[in-house]
Amino acid sequence: MVDSSTTSVPRLVVLDIKKSFGAVTVLRGVNFEARAGEVTALLGDNGAGKSTLIKCIAGTHIPDGGTISLDGVEQHFRTPSDATTAGIETIYQDLALCDNLDVVANLFLGRERRGSFAALDEISMEKTAKAALDQLHIIIPSVRSTVAQLSGGQRQSIAVAKAVLWAPKLVILDEPTAALGVAQQKQVLDLIKRLREAGLAVVVITHNIVDVMEVADVAIVMRLGRRVAKLRVADVSPEDIVAAITGAREFAEAASA
């Protein structure tokens, strides 16, 4: 199931993506790829174009040029739900959950199971929710707690579980550890490792070099709308990654990949 060999076709292949907003060119032909069973970190300073790239992959933006392929099949997303249907789940910080609803309701939000008399099938949803959380080793007081009652790390875990519940091919996490305490960061990073073990392709957008060293297999660095480096995290030091982000050093893009 897990195939992280560098010779296989990556699950996600993005080629020469271009995107402008009016006179402002944000992406100047970016390549990007993510393999199943690997965590790919997407790095770059503010304004590097990370968010725009991810939004193109998630169907929020329609690129001006270039191609996006999933498992070798070219995709043309017009809306976020096109991307979801194709198997791409994106977890945006803060935007994923309804605080006033319980964990089960959040996990199944928008995809509720129906029983008889048009009613929600709460029993079946609760059972599936429990199994999904157990599988990811997510521990919360009760699946009937409202999300407002959970800690920041627990919420982020629920947001991830919500995405994974639908058996996607690719999971994109936007700043998953931002604004979390140390213990809660570890909780989320452990969860990301389990997603990798489950054979998913995982993309993490982050500013946190420690996170990258901890969970990522590959780091792709962007600067000013271009990809400037692709590094195997095992082969480099944190200083190398920072140097790539700031542009202090040039990297031969393909060499280390």
Binding site: N100, L101, A105, G110, R111, I123, E126, A148, L150
Partner: protein
């Protein structure tokens, strides 16, 4: 939100020394908001009982209260739905009047049979509610402004049609809606059926959960709740039967309460209403048609303005300019908020209109019995509305923004 949590971590129930189980089951915020309401109702009843020489508490006054005021909680059901979205509908008072006027015109001037006059009034209000909903949901105009416009338009239309006069509605079939009673045996049968149904469905649900390997809440809580609600229902029905019976208007309120509770708490649509009210962005990203949900909700509110208008004509057998308006709007918002519906969306339930409705009807009835000047009535109701909102704010500050459904 996550940033806030990080700065001041919430005490999750999984802390090293968890409080005892019975304590955890009591939702602090819920307790903080409901206990003062029960206390307020008790105080109001004791006060009026002493001031009206014992006329206040009793089968007759309870029956008259139900007949005269049940249109308010009926309208409040519709308002609960918009409040759950975190929106407001300021037009409901005059929309109710416009329905009453339409029913009166269709019945008294156009000589239409009662079903057509009633359906016509409700239809007009539902369409107007949907029209406002279209502006708010599809065109993204602020609900506050749209319904303020509706407030003026519906006021103008209703006043124009009524032209300052009162339209009497002599049709006995319409009068029956507001003034008749259920047969004693039938109401008792309904009550027993309701209690049996509640117990049966509750036990069935518990069995299914056990069969699916899921935990059940302790049986004692379920039994206590079912017993308390059942006893209350039987007491109220027996009391009303000792006078003239259960007023039809009260039965209509309970029936609509049951249907809307089911829709709000048990169906995907209801879940989506809570989701949109809780976090519209999350709801949208989850693939929920947020525009459709908001649109339908304003239609529901229009529908209940229509139902309230019909009840109003049924009770008064007339439509007049003083029958409904801004006072009614404030009353129904009070009813919802007193019942624990949050003005900021996503929290509250349909049954809350019974508690809030009882408090507002008690005030109306008691102050009326005491012949209190209506100017004082406004002041008292204004203060009560502010206190209810204060409770809402305090309840939320205590944490746990639970969706009680």
């Amino acid at each position: 939100m996550i940033g806030v949590t990080d700065a001041a971590p919430r005490p999750a129930p999984a802390d090293p020394a968890p409080p005892p189980a019975w304590w955890r089951r009591i939702d602090g915020s819920k307790l903080a908001t409901t206990v003062p309401i029960y206390a307020a109702i008790a105080l109001i009843w004791i006060f009026f009982q002493s001031q009206t020489a014992g006329r206040f508490i009793g089968a007759r006054n309870l029956s008259e209260m139900a007949q005269e005021y049940s249109y308010k909680p009926l309208l409040a059901i519709g308002v609960v739905f918009v409040l759950l979205l975190g929106e407001i509908d300021l037009s409901v008072g005059y929309l109710t009047l416009l329905c009453a006027t339409t029913v009166a015109v269709l019945s008294a001037f156009a000589h239409q049979p009662a079903p057509i006059a009633i359906a016509g009034g409700i239809f007009v209000c539902t369409v107007l509610g949907l029209a406002q909903g279209f502006l708010i949901s599809a065109l993204r105009m602020p609900a506050f402004v749209v319904t303020l416009g509706g407030f003026l338009i519906f006021e103008g239309l209703a006043y124009h049609i009524l032209s300052g006069a009162t339209i009497n509605v002599p049709d006995p079939a319409i009068a029956a809606i507001g003034t008749s009673y259920l047969p004693t045996l039938l109401s008792l049968a309904f009550a027993i059926l309701a209690i049996a149904g509640m117990a049966f469905l509750g036990l069935l649900g518990r069995r299914q959960r056990t069969a699916a390997g899921l935990q059940n809440a302790p049986i004692t809580g379920f039994a206590a709740r079912t017993g308390a609600i059942g006893a209350l229902l039987l007491i109220v029905v027996t009391l009303l039967d000792s006078y003239r019976g259960v007023p039809l208007s009260l039965a209509v309120l309970l029936a609509f309460g049951l249907v809307t509770w089911y829709v709000a708490a048990k169906t995907p649509f209801g879940r989506h209403v809570y989701a949109v009210g809780g976090n519209v962005e999350a709801a949208r990203r989850a693939g929920i048609n947020t525009v459709g949900v908001r649109w339908v909700v304003f239609g529901i509110t229009g529908f209940f303005a229509g139902v309230a208008g019909v009840m109003l004509v049924g009770y008064a057998q007339a439509a007049s300019t003083t029958a409904a308006g801004p006072d009614l709007l404030l009353d129904v918002i009070s009813i919802a908020v007193i019942g624990g519906v949050s003005l900021t969306g996503g929290r509250g339930n349909v049954w809350s209109v019974l508690l809030g409705g009882l408090l507002i009807a008690s005030l109306d009835s008691g102050l009326n019995l005491m012949s209190v000047d209506s100017n004082y009535v406004y002041v008292i109701k204004g203060v009560i509305l502010l206190l209810a909102i204060l409770l809402d704010v305090l309840g939320k500050r205590r944490g746990a923004g639970a969706a009680r459904v």
